[in-house]
Subunit: 403 residues, 2 copies
C-alpha cells in the first residue's frame, strides 16, 4: 500500500489585504463558507475593516474571537475552534482563516487538520514572527503537559497572504521577537541580510517596518524566501532531523516552558542563538570575533542574549529533551561564521563544562560588549540583556486562567 | 511551495503473532521504545501472551490499558494516550502499537498523528472489522459534538499485522459486524466473494473464522486486498469525494449517533446497505430480484436490515449531513447488481418519497423474504431484523460514563 500526496501553496505579499477592492482574500475564499479565527487584540484593531471586507462578499462567514496568547496554545483552544466550525456548518471543502499571530496560525492549522480529517485553511498573519516564520510553514502545534508544541501536525495551508501594513500597529517589543527569527535566518544562510538588519533594523522596528521605504517589505520577502527554501528541503521532516531553521530552537523551548510562556518566543530564540554561538566557540567551530558580532547585533536590535533561567543544568536537560524529538540525535545548529552554519550531531559532543563555559562567555561578553552595529554607529539600546520575569508572571497567569 | 510525501506500508497476514518465536512484531519494533494501547477485554484475553512476548524483547515497552468501546472514541481517549506516551518518553521515531479493535486503531492512529507532529504506529487488529476495514487504512478518527468521526486524520501506519487466530476469541455478534463490511466489499466489487460468504459465512461466524479450514484466511485476505485496492485509488481523499467503500456509510453514521453508539457499526452498515439497495430499486438502478438476494444474504448472516431509528426524515437528515462531508455532493453508493455499484450524485436525486418507499420496501421484504442462501439450503436465523435498543442503552451509558 503506497500513500502519496502533493500539496502546493503560495505565500504572497499583499499590501492592504482588507481594503475592499483587494481581491486576494476574496479569491482565496471562492464562494465557500468560512470561519475566521482571531484574537481580541486583532479584533480591536482590524475587526471593523475585516467585517466591512467580509460584508462585501457573498460568502457565509463567521468570526470566532478568542484569547490566543502563548499560554492559550492548548488543545482546548483547538477544540473550541472545532466546535465553532461545527456550529457554523463548515463542510469538507469549506475554509478556516487564521487572522492573527503565530499562536493563531498554529491553533488554526491544527484545528483545520483535525476537522473532518482536514479542511483547507488560509493564513493572514498579523505579526512579524507569523509573517516570516510561524504563519508560512505547514506546522501547527500546541503545548501539552508542559512541553512546547508536543501535539501538532504537518498541514500545508491553502494560501498565506502576508500584509506588511499590519505591522504598523504591532508594538515594537513584538516586532523585536519577529526580527529575532530574521536574524536566525540571516545567521545560518545570508550574511547580506545580517548586514542589512544591522543597518536598518532599529529604524524598521521603530517604524513598524515602514521605513526605510520599501526596505521593510524587501527584508520580509527575503526572510520568507529563505524560510520556504529551507522548509521545502524536507517539508514533512522525514528521515534525518536536521534543519538549519532549528538554529535558536534547541534551548529556547525549555526556557519558554520554564517561564510559563512569559518569555517571548523571539526573546528565547535570541538567548538560544547567543548560547549556541558561544558553544560553537567552545567547540572551536566559530571565532570569537564572530561571536561578538552576533551578540552585538542581538543587543543592537534590543534582543536579550541571556536569561537567569538558562543555567548549564537546564541547558543539558533541554538538549536531552530535544534528542527525543530528533531521533536520538542532538543536531544543534551552530554558526561557523555569519551566514553559514553546521550541526553538532551528538549529545556527547557538548559536555556540561562546555555549557558552563558558554554561559559564562555570553555573560562576560554581554557585560563588556558595546552594542555596536556593523558600522559602529548605532546607540546602545536600553539594557535588556537579562530578563526579569517576576513582573510578567501574574499578568500571564490571569490571561491563561481566563480561558 | 510544494509539499510532497510518500509513505508505504504493508498489511501482512501473520498467524500467532504473539507466539514467542514469531518475529513479525519484533521486527516492526526494531529496538525502539514503544507504547502498546489496548482495552481491558483484549488485555484479559491476550495480556499474558503479550507480556510474555514483550518480555523476550530488548525494547522498553509500556502498556496502556483503557476502555475503548465506540462511546470512548473521543478526543479525551486520544489525549490520554498522548499523556501515556509523554510519560513513557516516546521519542519522534519511537512507536505506538494499537492492539485491539477498530476504536483502538482509530484512537491510536489519531494520537500517533498528533504526538510530536507524528510518531510511527503499528496496528495489531484483534476484531474482524478492524482486520479488514478500520485497522488497515490510514484514517484515524473520533466522535465530536455528536458527530461520528468529526475529528480525525489521514496517517498511514508503519505496518499492519493481521492475525486471524485472534478471531477465535471474538464473540459471534462482533464477527457479524465485521462480516457486514466484507458483504459491503463483495456487493460493490466481487460477486464471487458474495457467493462464498453465502456458502461459508455461517460456518465462519460459528467457528471464529477457523472453519472451513483455510477459507477464513482466504476470505480475510480477499477483503483486505479489495479494501487496499479501493483506498489506494485516492488515499487522502483529494478531489472528488466518491468512494465505493462508502457503500453502507451514508445513513449508518447517523443511526449510530442516534443510538448513542449502542447500535454496532456493522449492524448500522447492514441497515444502510439494505436501504441503499432499496433506494436503488426505487431509482430504477437495481432489479428487485437482486435486492431480495441482498436482503436474504444479510439476514442469512444474522445481520439486521432495518431499524426503528431509520425513518425517512432521519435518512434525509443523514444525507444532508453527508453532503457537508462530500463537498456538497451526495455520492450515495448503490449496487447495480451483486458485485457492481454506482453513485447517486446529488441530494435532489433521492426525494423524500423515494426514502419512504425504500423503507417500506425493506420492511415488506424482510417480513416476507425467507432467509435463503444462494443455494436455498441455509436455515432461518433467529429473527434479528429489527433491533430494540432499550435493553442496550443503560449498559452503554455506564461504560461511557466510566471514563
Amino acid at each position: 500500500m503506497t500513500c502519496e500526496i502533493s500539496r502546493g501553496y503560495d505565500v504572497s505579499l499583499v499590501r492592504g489585504v482588507l481594503s475592499p477592492r483587494n481581491r486576494a482574500l476574496a479569491d482565496s475564499l471562492g464562494h465557500r463558507r468560512a470561519l475566521v479565527v482571531t484574537d481580541p487584540t486583532v479584533e480591536a484593531i482590524h475587526g471593523a475593516d475585516l467585517r466591512t471586507y467580509l460584508g462585501g462578499l457573498p460568502n457565509d462567514v463567521d468570526v470566532h474571537v478568542t484569547q490566543l496568547a502563548e499560554g492559550d496554545k492548548s488543545i482546548g483552544s483547538v477544540l473550541a475552534v472545532c466546535e465553532a466550525a461545527q456550529r457554523h456548518g463548515i463542510g469538507r471543502r469549506d475554509l478556516l482563516v487564521a487572522f492573527g499571530g503565530g499562536v493563531c496560525c498554529d491553533v488554526v492549522s491544527l484545528a483545520a487538520s483535525l476537522i473532518r480529517r482536514g479542511v483547507p485553511y488560509v493564513c493572514l498573519p498579523t505579526t512579524l514572527v507569523a509573517q516570516i516564520d510561524a504563519g508560512i510553514g505547514l506546522k501547527g502545534g500546541v503545548n501539552f503537559g508542559g512541553s512546547k508544541n508536543y501535539l501538532g501536525c504537518f498541514t500545508p495551508p491553502q494560501a498565506v497572504l502576508v500584509d506588511p501594513t499590519f505591522l504598523l500597529t504591532v508594538p515594537e517589543a513584538e516586532l523585536r521577537g519577529g526580527i529575532s527569527e530574521i536574524v536566525k535566518m540571516a545567521l545560518v544562510r545570508d550574511r547580506r541580510l545580517f548586514d542589512q538588519l544591522l543597518d536598518v533594523g532599529p529604524e524598521l522596528l521603530a517604524s513598524g517596518f515602514s521605513r526605510p521605504a520599501t526596505t521593510g517589505e524587501a527584508v520580509i520577502a527575503r526572510a520568507v524566501q529563505l524560510m520556504l527554501d529551507e522548509l521545502s528541503r524536507n517539508c514533512y521532516e522525514e528521515g534525518r532531523l536536521d534543519r538549519l531553521v532549528d538554529f535558536g530552537h534547541t534551548f529556547s523551548g525549555r526556557l519558554e516552558e520554564l517561564s510559563a510562556y512569559t518569555l517571548r518566543h523571539g526573546e528565547a530564540v535570541a538567548v538560544d542563538m547567543a548560547l549556541s554561538s558561544a558553544i560553537a566557540v567552545e567547540l572551536g567551530l566559530l571565532g570569537e570575533a564572530d561571536l561578538h558580532r552576533i551578540l552585538s547585533a542581538l543587543l543592537a536590535l534590543g534582543l536579550p542574549v541571556r536569561s537567569p533561567l538558562a543555567t548549564p543544568a537546564t541547558l543539558m536537560e533541554a538538549m536531552r529533551a530535544v534528542c527525543l524529538h530528533r531521533d536520538g540525535a542532538l543536531n544543534l545548529v551552530v554558526p561557523t561564521t555569519v551566514g553559514e552554519a553546521t550541526f553538532v550531531r551528538r549529545l556527547e559532543d557538548v559536555p556540561l563544562h562546555a555549557l558552563t563555559a558558554a554561559v559564562s562567555r555570553v555573560a562576560a561578553a554581554a557585560a563588556n560588549t558595546p552594542a555596536v552595529s556593523r558600522l559602529d554607529d548605532k546607540p546602545l539600546p536600553a539594557p535588556r540583556d537579562v530578563i526579569d520575569l517576576r513582573d510578567r508572571l501574574p499578568a500571564a497567569r490571569n490571561s491563561s486562567s481566563s480561558r
